[in-house]
Symmetry: C2
């Protein structure tokens, strides 16, 4: 039997090296590529034949959620396992909704990652205990996102949340984007509803988690 060919998508080089080092002991797992951003991963998939991608949620340029969506639409025959330090329901759900085959939280028990990969390659789904807890605990809080009516952010909303996180005021954002301040307010309002947060703090945290700033 041939080993499972894995691409690691993680900004941190050392993480990729660490994973390779771990899998050196596992005969059936072989790391064949490393991407530092979502975009790099999409390219790499077309160049290197791989069975599975280990995808960090928090990536610059194109984050894990967007990358997952793209892979699900355009790339047949590759499994994707989310792999992140983030445990918030928001991200676990998003990755699963976008088609991830599992969610492994970083820094888990030593053999967990390998086990998760094998489960997924067998056609199963793997969720780390923490991720499972997060999904369970999060239902009452983020139920507005669940039940199929997940709301993604639009392009404009992303531009705005990014500028908010960069300490721009509404007037400045409007100026920067060439729209009225009133429109900016509307977008912010929608953002806060969609993300279920109360103010700037929640927006900034979201933008930072997804590495939009």
């Amino acid at each position: 039997m041939c080993p499972t060919r894995i691409i690691v998508a993680d900004t941190n080089d050392l993480v990729a090296i660490g994973i390779s080092a771990r899998f050196a002991e596992e005969a059936d797992l072989h790391v064949v590529g490393h991407a530092r951003t979502g975009k790099e991963l999409l390219e790499l998939i077309t160049q290197v034949k791989a069975d599975l991608a280990l995808l960090e949620v928090s990536l610059p340029e194109m984050d894990g959620i967007d990358t997952m969506r793209h892979i699900h639409k355009h790339c047949e025959g590759i499994k994707v396992l989310a792999h992140s330090l983030l445990t918030e329901i928001e991200y676990v759900n998003s990755m699963l909704i976008e088609g991830a085959d599992g969610y492994v939280v970083k820094n888990g028990p030593k053999g967990e990652l390998a086990e998760a990969i094998r489960t997924v390659m067998d056609g199963g789904t793997y969720l780390s205990p923490t991720a499972r807890e997060s999904v369970a605990a999060g239902y009452q809080f983020t139920n507005k996102h669940m039940g199929g009516e997940y709301v993604g952010l639009t392009t404009r909303e992303r531009e705005i949340i990014r500028l908010v996180a960069l300490q721009y005021g509404n007037a400045e954002i409007g100026e920067a984007l060439g729209i009225s301040e009133g429109t900016v307010k509307t977008h912010r309002k929608n953002l806060m509803h969609k993300l279920n947060v109360r103010g700037v703090a929640g927006l900034v945290k979201y933008a930072m988690d997804r590495r939009w700033i």
Copy 2:
């Protein structure tokens, strides 16, 4: 000659494994321990004889800056090299002011980390190009922190910035800490001055960078 004994302080297990894997090729560098938080590092230093600590700035429980300060005061004879993805002047400066022997930005060229360690062990100081740029470029912006009058945050200020980042309002913070809303406002005002930021966004970013939330 005996090899340099190194302790890695980083939340991410895989990073530590990655570093060990890299240094497997370097005969003079040997990783002898791994700490996941600042507190763990301080303990480990008393238990394991080490020549140098590789210290991530962004650590939970006790972050790199506070850990650095503590080591500088209480631990003789151990070199410390800061090692982080963060390149902001705020952190580079803070680490150097607190006594770090160098600052290496993660994801640099392959041999950089080893070179930096050797420089430091020779009694020198090593700064990554990015860190050096950041220091140079940051002077006009954060000069109020420079020239010896670096201002650290007080305990109370840290509690408050943390709650701000957790989306608490001033009234709620006051209630949570048992102080008046007015006092909270004063602390926030002082925080923004010290950190040279304009609003909630800047405070949240700072708290997240230092892993206080």
